[in-house]
């Protein structure tokens, strides 16, 4: 009987998963490149992140060559509006993706994996998706050429 009780308790422990979650699986990394080749450094007055009713505005960004932004894990599209310093018009990029949810455990929370990034609309000179799945260890997902 004691063995049975211990086994029952042990079985409860077996179903306790490790709290290992991917922290940054909704973060997308943009890299800026020159059309002629090489890294481009750009300044932005702001970047808008728009999804559903929500709009986020970044602080001014000075001389950057990479930029990490977040996508909405509850929706399948997010729009980014890039306003470069000294430019009249802004550039718009609309991304689509599959947000796959996973319960890590009731204590550890929920993880959203963003996969299959694709471009719905964009008006940059050129753009390419290097890594369509967002991962914990961030690498360049989208390369933007100016």
């Amino acid at each position: 009987m004691a063995f049975f009780a211990i086994a029952l308790l042990a079985s409860a422990c077996l179903d306790e998963p490790d709290c290992v979650a991917s922290e940054n699986t909704t973060t997308i990394r943009f890299s800026f490149r020159k059309l002629t080749g090489g890294v481009d450094t750009i300044s932005f007055e702001f970047v808008n992140i728009i999804s559903g009713d929500q709009v986020f505005v970044t602080e001014p960004l000075e001389d950057i060559s990479t930029l990490d932004l977040t996508v909405n894990p509850t929706d399948t599209t997010t729009t980014f509006v890039f306003q470069q310093s000294g430019q009249v018009s802004a550039n718009t990029l609309v991304l689509r993706y599959d947000p796959v949810a996973r319960l890590i455990s009731p204590e550890c929370g929920v993880e959203t994996l963003v996969q299959n990034l694709g471009i719905i609309e964009q008006d940059f000179d050129s753009i390419s998706i290097l890594k369509p799945d967002l991962e914990e260890f961030i690498e360049t997902n989208v390369q933007i050429f100016n």
């Binding site: 599959d98 796959v100 949810a101």
Partner: protein, 245 residues
């Protein structure tokens, strides 16, 4: 994949069959048995047992979040058991404080072969090793609000569900079955589950697979403790005079 599984099960069965024949009686006895078999039925069933997993029932009674019901049956074919089990499980793993509501339910079926290393035991007790092929299905739903998220706290939140995803996996099993009173047996199964395959979902990855356990683990141990009722097909031979029970 299914071709691979079929091949895998077939090879395992052949392995066990070969191993069992190596453990059998000396050659002379084998010859006699073969002669008997020629005139007798091809499949010589000694009896069947059917029962319920009281370990699962224990979880059901002790836990408010989990319901497990599993039935097991086996057919004795000399040194082998053909074993099947069917079960249902449901899980409510919610954490309201964290804005998580998760429900999961499903059923599963296992079938396989065990080889009994105690085939000469007068009571028919068994210490066995075996293999199972398991199939099942899972339905689940996850609701989650992003109230703690620094960016998306004001979004409506997630509400994802899988209506019915098929699951399958393999198990190595080992255990004991012991007669405790007349036709009543107790037995346990220690199971090593592996090669889990879940039908792909583009919205929600299941947290729990009924019959298997946590879906994120590539292999895991399982345990069942059964009470079984024996339905003998053959009358036992009378004991020689002078022997007491």
């Amino acid at each position: 994949m299914s071709k691979f599984l079929t091949k895998y099960i077939f090879i395992s069965f052949v392995f066990w069959a070969g191993f069992a024949s190596a453990q059998d009686e000396p050659v002379e006895t084998e010859t006699l048995e073969k002669k008997k078999e020629k005139s007798g039925p091809v499949i010589d069933i000694d009896g069947i047992r059917a029962g319920i997993d009281i370990f699962g029932l224990g979880q059901t009674f002790l836990s408010q979040e989990r319901d497990v019901l599993e039935f097991q049956g086996d057919v004795r074919l000399k040194s082998y058991f053909f074993a099947v089990s069917y079960g249902t499980a449901s899980l409510d793993d919610s954490n309201v404080e964290r804005g998580i509501l998760y429900e999961n339910s499903g059923s599963y079926f296992r079938a396989g072969i065990d080889y009994n290393f105690l085939n000469k035991d007068p009571d028919g007790s068994a210490f066995f090793f075996g293999i199972r092929y398991a199939r099942g299905s899972v339905e689940d739903r996850l609701r989650f609000d992003f109230s703690g998220d620094p960016n998306w706290a004001d979004t409506p939140g997630l509400d994802r569900q899988n209506d019915r995803l098929s699951t399958r996996w393999l198990e190595f099993t080992s255990g004991l079955k012991v007669k405790v009173y007349k036709l009543i047996w107790f037995g346990y199964n220690l199971r090593f589950n592996f090669a889990l395959n879940i039908e792909e979902s583009n919205t929600l990855l299941p947290f729990f697979v009924p019959g298997y356990g946590l879906a994120q683990e590539g292999s895991r141990w399982g345990f069942n403790y059964y009470v079984l009722f024996d339905i003998p097909f053959k009358k036992k031979a009378d004991k020689p005079a002078g022997l007491k029970n």
